[in-house]
């Protein structure tokens, strides 16, 4: 089948699957149950997009088969879909099954739903067994205790399945299953499964057990955590595989909340220190990312002491880490420590670190510091930093890589707001104008947008005095690209500057450029007039804009003519 036909037929099938409810309505509930559903159960040969749509539709089919009394009829097609190899389709089928399980009566759950789960759990294919893992928690609460025992047994079996894929599915659902179990079974069953999965030979299984740890810890009473959960967690934090340690670092805040302040003080603080000093950079970076959150969530009574004695020394080391991602991760959160530690500690201990990172060779590190200045501003005021800040900003603004320059432009409105208009005018204004004539178009465009935001922040009067003259001055630049930038700026600024400035200062410049020798400039004049037209009054439009547009409409260049005519019609000047 050639590709076009194949795509077309998939699209047709996809469209029809999305109209499945219409078909079901037309057939009526009985024919839907007896004819449509059997057909759908067997047609799982299709493309993934079609199967995915089907799995989703079936989740909403309860009324179309006759209501909750008949909802179990939806189980066969969904059971088929739960065995396909494409993960997104299986996951959607499981999601729909979970949804309709709520509409089964407790009797129907035992008679229809639970047997389905049993069949999937003991199926030959890994795919059915992985899907089963997602269904235990929804049927457990409402079935009899004998059936509950069966479900627990099935889950246990899947946790020690031969295939890593199935064990991974079981591990990822461990927390969710634990939540619906009675506390006694959590202690007796879940804990041993958790410990086993956390020592699995496959790294990919062990790291999912770390996630489960959070849920399990939240369910258990504090006094049981030390014996039932902490040994496993300590083991994970020192696992030979860096990926497992990474997971611990990544989930650190959740773990902290789950285990509570005592265990945090005794176990998690040293564990966190170790992660910050881990031999693998990825782990250090993940831990560095959590520094602020971890410190924030320490118990208030000895928070400062813990941070100053245990965390800050590690943080100092990270500032000069060999790996740039680690430093960058640290830079994105380190400023947040100032609100936690207060003014004096910030000035004495944190300020040197901020300044060091502000001078880091990696641009991303510097950018991350600059983007978080507001936290520091709150605590000690920006003046302390501003001396080092300016050289850092200038260096980033002139970086050889255009994406770095782009990033700093994006922070400019924020910085301007924090540093104030005087500092900006004194030091940053020239930079903003220089960006307007950068070699890279993306920079010129971002710079134009930047100006607009600055005008919004500082007001039209400021614009009139500081930037408008410079922008309009570019209209005489020998380089046509710079002349066009003037027009783009005018487009961006006219609304913020208001009618007065636009009419008296900007409009004359635009009109003058209608005589430019480069056609690109001329047709952009037409586009500009169209853009700023709504800001002008009707007098200006009729007496000044209309004649110029009419002239451009007879231009020798086709594009100029086109845009002029378009402007005339949009502005209703004809």
């Amino acid at each position: 089948m050639n590709v076009k036909v194949a795509i077309l037929s998939i699209q047709l099938r996809l469209n029809s699957i999305k109209k499945l409810s219409t078909i079901a309505l037309a057939l009526g509930v009985e024919r839907t149950r007896t004819e449509l559903l059997p057909f759908l159960t067997d047609t799982i040969y299709d493309e993934d997009e079609v199967l995915l749509a089907l799995a989703e539709q079936l989740g909403n089919f309860t009324m179309l088969v006759g209501g909750p009394e008949y909802v179990h009829c939806l189980l066969p097609p969904l059971e088929s879909l739960a065995t396909v190899e494409e993960t997104v389709v299986r996951d959607k089928a499981v999601e729909s099954l979970r949804k309709i399980s709520q509409e089964h009566s407790p009797v129907d759950l035992e008679v229809h739903f639970e047997p389905l789960v049993k069949r999937l759990a003991s199926g030959d294919w890994f795919t059915s067994r992985t899907s089963a893992c997602g269904l235990f928690s929804v049927c457990y609460p409402r079935v009899s205790s004998t059936v509950k025992a069966e479900i627990r047994q099935h889950f246990r079996t899947l946790c020690s399945d031969d295939t890593p894929m199935v064990r991974r599915a079981a591990a990822s659902k461990l927390g969710e299953f634990a939540k619906v179990l009675e506390l006694d079974y959590v202690k007796s069953d879940i804990i041993s499964l958790f410990t086993a999965l956390a020592s699995d030979e496959q790294d990919s299984v062990r790291l999912l057990a770390v996630e489960a740890c959070v849920s399990i810890a939240t369910l258990l009473p504090q006094e049981d955590l030390e014996t039932l959960v902490m040994p496993t967690l300590r083991q994970a934090a020192e696992d030979k595989s860096w990926r497992v340690r990474y997971m611990v670092a990544d989930k650190f805040s959740e773990l902290q909340k789950a285990v509570g302040p005592e265990i945090t003080k005794n176990d998690l603080v040293p564990a966190f220190q170790n992660l910050l000093k881990d031999c693998e950079a990825e782990v250090r970076a993940a831990a560095a990312n959590k520094v602020k959150e971890f410190c924030e969530n320490l118990p208030e009574d000895n928070r400062e002491q813990i941070i100053m004695t245990h965390i800050l020394p590690c943080v100092k080391e990270l500032v000069s880490d060999t790996n740039q991602h680690v430093k960058s991760a640290l830079a994105s959160v380190i400023m947040g420590l100032s609100t936690i530690l207060g003014k004096d500690n910030t000035i004495e201990h944190l300020l040197p670190l901020f300044l060091a990172q502000l001078k880091d060779e990696c641009p991303e590190v510097r950018l991350n510091i600059i983007s978080n200045l507001d936290c520091v501003n709150e605590v000690i005021g920006i003046r302390q930093l501003s001396q080092s800040l300016l050289p850092a900003i200038v260096e980033l603004a002139e970086d050889a890589k255009w994406r770095v320059r782009l990033a700093i432009i994006e922070y400019m409105p924020l910085l301007a707001g924090q540093l104030g208009v005087e500092f900006f005018d004194e030091k940053l204004n020239t930079l903003c104008m220089a960006w307007l004539i950068d070699h890279v178009y993306a920079i010129r465009e971002a710079a134009t947008c930047n100006l607009m935001k600055l005008v919004e922040k500082f007001g039209a009067e400021w614009a009139q005095n500081t930037i408008v003259p410079k922008v309009l001055g570019m209209a005489n630049d020998p380089n046509y690209l710079h002349r066009m930038t003037t027009l783009f700026c005018i487009n961006a600024l006219s609304e913020a500057c208001g009618q007065d400035i636009t009419t008296k200062q900007m409009l004359p410049v635009v009109l003058k450029m209608s005589n430019d020798q480069v056609a690109n400039v001329r047709f952009n004049v037409a586009k500009s007039l169209q853009k700023i037209g709504p800001v002008l009054d009707s007098n200006a439009l009729q007496t000044e804009v209309k004649p110029v547009l009419e002239k451009l409409a007879t231009d020798t260049d086709m594009d100029v003519k086109y845009f002029a005519q378009e402007a005339i019609s949009v502005l209703a000047l004809a």
């Binding site: 037309a26 024919r31 040969y45 991974r168 860096w242």
Partner: protein, 444 residues
Amino acid sequence: KPLPFPSQMLPMGVEYDPSLQLPASDIISTVEFNHTGELLATGDKGGRVVIFQQEIENKNLPQFRSEYNVYSTFQSHEPEFDYLKSLEIEEKINKIRWLPQKNAAQFLLSTNDKTIKLWKISERDKRPEGYNLKEEDGRYKDPNTITSLRVPVLIPMDLMVEASPRRVFANAHTYHINSISVNSDDETYLSADDLRINLWHLEITDRSFNIVDIKPANMEELTEVITAAEFHPHQCNTFVYSSSKGTLRLCDMRASALCDKHSKLFEEPEDPSNRSFFSEIISSISDVKFSHNGRYMMTRDYLSVKIWDLNMENRPVETYQVHEYLRSKLCSLYENDCIFDKFECCWNGNDSVVMTGSYNNFFRMFDRGQRRDVTLEASRENSKPMQVLKPRKVCAGGKRKKDEISVDSLDFNKKILHTAWHPQDNIIAVATTNNLYIFQDKVN
């Protein structure tokens, strides 16, 4: 169950000759059994994949005979052109690796020099009948004649085997891909080119992690390239890669994200008596394979097969000479480029026998326990169905006995580079330049 050394190899029913169905330039470039041995995949220079399925006549008989028949054929890769470098990208399939079966369908990874593809092979045996808008012959009905809505039913049809590309893993290799290997975790795999090894997740095609990078900062300092790589069969964190200088490096992915530092380096000190101008070239490892039990690795260099114990780095535990008689011919083999031929090697199901190819359509099997070996030939003339293959012998010098073949009469254009062994039984697949042979041990 124990596997005896195959002593009575019989040619089996089919000898697939791609040139009969396809343009004559197509040469088989890779051969691989799936995990049960029921399916055998071959890839060729024309980018095609042909899959054979085992059909067993009466498995209950002690001496069952199985046949491999064509199950599916599809075009995996097409030739491409790299516009930036003005280079052609060949469609030749370098490697095929099967995924463990997870449902009714089968999956395999196939790769050319630059792009890896995941293929799904599935069976369809039902089709829908009873459309509302169409007659049985396909003509559209007059809508005015349709008075009721009917639901099609599925009726049986002849078995159709469909192959569809499920994922394309592209743009991650600057150099030519020489190996792919699936991890025991069933969700990741590695791909290796001359200088780099990347780790992929089977579900994610737009990202790949680089785990080994041996490219020097200054390319003029390049002395060694990666020739093959493989994951350990059970340990999800361990993989090995071989080099053109005859070294093997075992790496542990747990220790760090970038595995440039190996955990073990396997290298045999050179035998000074055998030193020659060609020593380095012939020490280049062309293939590396872990044993099924995960305790050993086998390497193939130009003249020999070596077995290494994972716990001993300074020398192999066993060395088998494949065609030592070629050592005195290295000069002419260098001139006709044969010295650069990349032979593969493989283990039998219980790691007691290893096999590799040679020239003149010969292939060799070495029994590790009994210290015996045999040379067999895969050719039309010498394989009549139901007739046991006769062992061959090369006469290295001196008086040539009857039935022996002299070194100078060997045909170096007839090379067996690719061989595969069924994971459980004594059934082997051997690819000559353009034919595939399947042999089964009579004693089964």
